[in-house]
Subunit: 330 residues, 2 copies
């Protein structure tokens, strides 16, 4: 039972909950007009920004610490795809009128946990009120050695396409949380839900992959859609063998219960795994990378001359089609 | 008469309206996971972020180009206060369901105009849908030579306090637009309204002031509140002579009509003028700075030993008190 609290004013909220997160000297304890970052010589700054809206990109009723983790990690996943080492972030939070200060305290504690986990620090941002839903924008900053950022547009014909971890878990987890997978055991459901609630940015993998791969992207919109982005940017076509797409035991259990959701691992999105492209000769290096990082890497297809098309084929070589390439934000 | 358009999907919107704004090579035409910025050697990156919500921070019915100018310029004003040269920005836009693509096109055209005016370029961001009001977050990046950023916390006892331009115009303009200044002539009203709709970031002034002033802040929350921020951060008290606060002819006309709004220039906010602190010996340099930049600088008070208090005195030396230090976002 929580008592409705009167929310503190903006400056008190920042001083109480967010300033303790600003441990970088250039953040000036969030008391100045702006922060000052000092990139080390020979490095570039990698910048990414994601905006998450309650009940669009996360569930408003989720644990505030999970929401904090999610808004940070979806950005860290972009840095991972670029091969960048996370450094700092800004947070712009628009709070609805019914927000409680308790909620903000738990949200800030979630940020603090992830700051320690990923060696990043808050350097600035904004705190405003909105008559609409909670809206969180994180802009994250990473560092790469000059010219070493990994791109989407540099994949080549003949490359093998790899994905990290397993796909579909998060989208199935969201479905489970919505009560839409009849008969799924609680253990599998919990595993899948946690992949939705707390994506794991593949930072170590992304940074170490930079020297091996030709191109990378993180899978947020869905495998087919994100591979499509790589193909368009690199002016190649792709063939994906859907039987090769790695699935977790929990996902296999869920998919067995409902044949209608079989394509979720291909189109569901929210995976925040990495899709990596590498020359066939790099196969041993890719295997070594998986071993070194402890993150499974699975070859799921190949690239060929083309102009952005993605073909998914089944075991018999039959071409599948999708009504929708993946999750689109509009 | 506009016909209701079907909005394009996220990727089409970005390609059509926002990618043309991404002229920096490291923005990769907004087709990658993140942007890569390359600060010149010997420079630091200054980062600021502001979140603006429709009908909280701007009027939803305003010209989209004005809204574009406002969300950029409130950030550029922060860079000006730090003495930083603007370089790039990210935009996270949460669009409500009834947004029309026409609106987005006009908004993007407004951004393009200001990009040319202020020599900045879009490098990334996010485009999402929201069931709530239009919510715009800009994170802006500027450059300063190593160690040259101007702070709030470095003002000294004995410093003179200056403000640029005139104060109160924007807050009076908002009041005029709301039909709340009875009898104000249209010409004065238009002048005041334009100060609200299109603030002018004092970039040239801020950059050139860096070598002269001890501290600076931009006036967004209101003179008394923002001077209070300087005083708290610098551990000094301030005395402001309210008769010295510079007012435009339009503001004087408005204030003559209604004695109840006399304190608006002190507390109204949204001015986006600079407050500068400088040693008494710098008076000639400050006068030269005003002449060089064409921006009037007016001495309005002094700093003394203390711990963050701001006293406003009238011509007779009588201390005034304020119910509210200025506009607060909560």
């Amino acid at each position: 039972m929580t008592t409705r609290q009167r929310i503190s004013d903006e400056f008190t909220l920042i001083a109480r909950h967010f300033a303790p997160l600003a441990t970088e000297p250039g953040a000036f304890n969030l008391t100045d007009d702006a922060a000052v970052l000092t990139p080390p010589p020979g490095h570039q700054v990698v910048i990414t920004s994601d905006c998450l809206v309650a009940d669009v990109h996360f569930r408003a009723a989720d644990d505030p610490a999970d929401i904090a983790a999610k808004v940070l990690r979806v950005n860290l996943s972009d840095l991972a795809a670029m091969g960048a080492t996370p450094s700092a972030y800004t947070l712009a939070a628009a709070f609805p009128p019914d927000i409680q200060e308790d909620w903000i305290a738990k949200f800030a504690a979630g940020l603090a946990d992830d700051q320690a986990r990923f060696a990043i620090t808050l350097v600035g941002g904004d705190t405003v009120s909105t008559p609409g839903p909670l809206t969180l924008t994180v802009t994250a900053f990473g560092l790469v050695a000059d010219g070493q950022a990994v791109r989407r547009s540099t994949a080549n014909t003949g490359d093998t396409v790899y994905v990290s971890g397993t796909l579909g878990d998060a989208a199935l987890g969201l479905r489970y949380l919505a009560g839409k997978i009849d008969g799924l055991d609680a253990e599998s459901g919990t595993v899948l839900a946690s992949r939705y609630l707390r994506p794991i940015p593949r930072l170590d993998l992304g940074i170490k992959a930079a020297a091996i791969v030709t191109a990378a992207i993180d899978i947020s919109d869905g495998l087919i859609a994100d591979l499509g982005h790589v193909c368009k940017a690199s002016a190649v076509d792709a063939t994906v063998e859907i039987e090769a797409v790695p699935l977790s035991p929990a996902a296999l259990t869920a998919l067995d219960l409902d044949p209608d959701i079989a394509t979720i691992p291909l189109t569901g999105g929210d995976d925040y795994e990495l899709l990596l492209c590498a020359e066939p000769g790099a196969a041993a290096a890719i295997a070594g990378l998986a071993e070194e990082t402890g993150v499974p890497l699975t070859a799921i297809g190949t690239l060929r001359a083309g102009s952005g098309r993605v073909d998914a084929i089944d075991r018999a070589g039959k071409l599948l089609s999708f009504e929708k390439g993946g999750f689109r934000h509009f």
